[in-house]
Amino acid sequence: MSRAMTGRWQQAMELDELWEGEMTGVTVGAEKVLLVNVDGEIRAYRNRCPHQQWELSEGDLDGGEITCARHLWVFDARSGSGVNPDNCRLTDFPCRVTDGVIEVDVT
């Protein structure tokens, strides 16, 4: 469910603030976004578990997998695809790092 890129980049947070192996929830425009730093690669997803819309930022990131705290649904942090169960995926947003700032396109 990758969205078409519209080029409306918005600054989300400083790269320095998101350590490798960490994830955090931010608000970009009207959208709650989960920013993930997997071994130096940044990913941006909608901050909602597809199961029951729980905020994924309350879960954890371990071994390249995001686990939702509510019902322990597990997702691959790099691709956003479901690991358990494997028939779902996170909604991703285009993101990039410009001059040390993480930018996300939520449009």
Binding site: G59, D62, A69, R70, L72, N84, D86, N87
Partner: protein, 403 residues
């Protein structure tokens, strides 16, 4: 090669998916006595009663896309282990190279409590029946304050129904969670207007033109429109018993999911599996999915024991109850957080090791414990009670100190 999966729940669906994911290219046949493809049971006592749809375990097109044959509305009636065949209700025999038994549970019934206005809850058909009758009912009596009873009470209250629960124990979920946490749930349900008659159970029932009249062991009577019987479930072991496969409380399997019969596996709610040295039968959704992946691996040439921690959740009102592991003694728990504020994690500690946590409205704590469970660590009750150190950090530190 043909693998036959008996049972139409998520355990079978997870096994089928695991087989295809691992590149198994033989036949996969799922025998399901229900009329619909595998679906998620957890929502049936929760959101479904409020009006949501049945959630399929896999997309409807998945089975055809992955060449998995679903035989719905079909039961396996007998096994011939020597001839490696399964007899089906249609009368035909289906040969197998490997057989997976995921026959699940059926609700325990109380003698005399059957027929109109009496409900049990296991299948989507059960839930549809309950939902349809709840629409016109005002007074619901639930027999048993287990997970089903508590969750249906929560759903029925949201629909504006008047709910009474009879529970022979002193508190809801006392056997699963202990008296103290059961007491918290008692408060939660009563706070929502549910009448919980703890220490009391229904002995008899009479039918009137308007509904049902129930009489309790204490001689009290209560009138109602509907009854939900939620007094536990029984594993469907008959097929295995008749075939001479070892059973006890469930179909006995080893760490790999193997029964006593060659090339016959069992998993899900029906399987009593050796898990970290203890035989345990787990009636939880997450475990069925995880066992499905393990069995699929073991059917495709690997030897993977099922060692994942047992985990469950229950959503009641706006509360999230979760547990991971197996408590040594439910009357001896170390509490972090506030029981009064209904936000806490209760740890079972054995010789400095956490063997379980039960948490109310603290999902992060459960995640953190899950990481260290079944791994070497040493922690004190004092440290667990001290909220000045985040639990995740504490457990990371204690695990590193030991290793």
């Amino acid at each position: 090669m043909r693998y036959v999966l008996v049972g139409g729940g998520v355990a079978s669906a997870a096994t089928a998916a695991g087989l295809r994911k691992r590149g198994f290219d033989g036949e996969v046949v799922v025998i399901a006595d229900e009329a619909e493809p595998p679906y998620e049971r957890p929502p049936l006592s929760k959101d479904f009663l409020g009006g949501t749809e049945v959630v399929p375990a896999r997309a409807p097109s998945w089975y055809a896309d992955n060449d998995v044959e679903l035989r719905l509305g079909t039961r396996a009636t007998a096994l011939d282990l020597g001839g490696r065949t399964v007899r089906l209700t249609a009368g035909d025999d289906l040969g197998y190279d490997a057989l997976v038994l995921a026959t699940g549970l059926r609700p325990r019934r109380l003698p005399g409590f059957d027929g109109e206005r009496i409900h049990h809850l296991r299948t989507a058909a059960d839930a549809r029946g309950l939902r349809a009758e709840l629409a016109d009912a005002q007074r619901l009596v639930i027999l048993g304050a287990g997970f089903i009873g508590c969750e249906v009470a929560s759903s029925a209250v949201a629909l504006g129904k008047q709910v009474t629960i009879f529970e022979p124990e002193r508190a809801p979920l006392a056997r699963a969670l202990g008296a103290r946490i059961g007491g918290v749930l008692l408060d939660i349900h009563r706070g929502r207007g549910v009448e919980i008659r703890a220490g009391e159970y229904i002995e008899s029932m009479t039918r009137t033109a308007a509904g049902l009249v129930l009489t309790s062991n204490l001689g009290h009577t209560v009138e109602c429109d509907l009854v939900l019987v939620g007094v536990g479930a029984r594993p469907n072991v008959e097929l295995a018993v008749a075939a001479g496969i070892d059973t006890g409380d469930g179909i006995l399997v080893d760490e790999y999911g193997r029964t006593s019969a060659p090339d016959v596996y069992a998993l899900g709610d029906v399987a009593a599996q050796v898990h970290h040295g203890t035989r345990v039968r787990v009636e939880h959704h997450d475990n069925a999915l995880r066992q499905g992946r393990t069995v699929a691996a073991n059917l495709t040439g690997e030897a993977v024991p099922h060692t994942d921690a047992h985990w469950f959740w229950s959503d009641q009102y706006d509360h999230t109850l979760q547990s991971v592991g197996r408590a040594r003694d439910l009357d001896d728990l170390v509490v972090r957080g506030s029981v009064e504020e209904q936000r806490f994690a209760a740890f079972s500690l054995t010789d400095g090791r956490i063997d379980a946590v039960i948490a109310l409205n603290r999902p992060g704590d459960v995640l953190a414990v899950r990481r260290v469970l079944h791994t070497p660590h040493e922690v004190t009750a004092e440290a667990l009670r001290d909220e000045s150190v985040p639990l995740k950090q504490l457990l990371r530190t204690v695990a590193e100190e030991v290793s």
